[in-house]
Symmetry: C3
Subunit: 153 residues, 3 copies
Amino acid sequence: MAGSPANDAPHRLIDGVTFGENVVVFPFTNLYGCEIGDDTRIGPFVEIQRGVRIGANCKIQSHTFICTGVEIEDDAFVGHGVLFVNDKYPRVSGEWEQLQTVVEHGASLGSGAVILGGVRIGREALVGAGAVVSHDVDPGQTVVGNPARPLER
Amino acid sequence: MAGSPANDAPHRLIDGVTFGENVVVFPFTNLYGCEIGDDTRIGPFVEIQRGVRIGANCKIQSHTFICTGVEIEDDAFVGHGVLFVNDKYPRVSGEWEQLQTVVEHGASLGSGAVILGGVRIGREALVGAGAVVSHDVDPGQTVVGNPARPLER
Amino acid sequence: MAGSPANDAPHRLIDGVTFGENVVVFPFTNLYGCEIGDDTRIGPFVEIQRGVRIGANCKIQSHTFICTGVEIEDDAFVGHGVLFVNDKYPRVSGEWEQLQTVVEHGASLGSGAVILGGVRIGREALVGAGAVVSHDVDPGQTVVGNPARPLER
């Protein structure tokens, strides 16, 4: 574990991040207080918030936002412009419950997916591009649409 | 009112913006010709265009785009990756009508929502994450889906 | 053709891009190995990948991601936060087929649209804001929704 990624790139803000070996972080990134495993790649225009844990050998693609409360296991693919949510009823003030979200080993989230707070996306599951996921996704399952539902084949 | 936010941060482009007291603007932001009220926070990777007015005590979260023609009243929450639109039939050239959009006091827009031009989102309304809003939303109403419809409880 | 855009702006990363005349590139952009035609404008927070070809007189709006495998013809409008995809079953490893996508002359893609790999969007077609396009769109056709379907008038 180390305090900096394996590569150099301009326009990065990295504050208090724990990196595994061989992590690549692209430019225009804002990472703070999170943990990123070996061989994982973080694309441009990505923000990852405090407390997030990302496993080894993941790809986090450009324009994605990963909030506090999210854990991503090894070998997961997170497409471009994926948005995680951690509050059920967002308001500017007042109390709120922070929800925990898990993306299990080898799962794949298509570009533009929105992942609501508190869901678990099972091993090797596939979330279609643009899907809005409001419930758990079973291991190996493919979901698509808004709201996301199992794909009928 | 002042010409700069209350905090310092790198990688900001701020041009001709009028700030209230205690406004916080995060890095990687592109703000020009707009007006931002007291105690409002603007997240990273946000663009706010000329003529936009944002009230006091709002949160504008990361990756959000707010175009000319939008007014956001006090105490509103705008989630991550929210996109506003101000033209009905976008084309690269030719005439077009610029539509006006209002987000009323205390409304909350979930992450990934797309807000078409010309709509009014009422006081304390809640737009679900990933919703595509093409019609007005009544005060206190919750809408979800693509196209956004009132939530059936 | 030239190796740099017509304007100056801070916070741009431009590597091996071929520019036509009078191309404007906004700040916070990441462009590499692509080709951009005369009079086209590229907004902030945009990434365009290697091999992409964009025609003349296009607008590529903020927060948009254009991946390898995409060709955009002249006079096309690509809204804000549009995401292109070029793999059908994204995984972190293993073989994958790179799909080719074409946006024909004068087509218009609304903000927040997600364009799956391998589709052809016909001349002057209109993709609604927030639409998830998984099939070809006929010339002149308007599609909306997730998945995108022809608009019923």
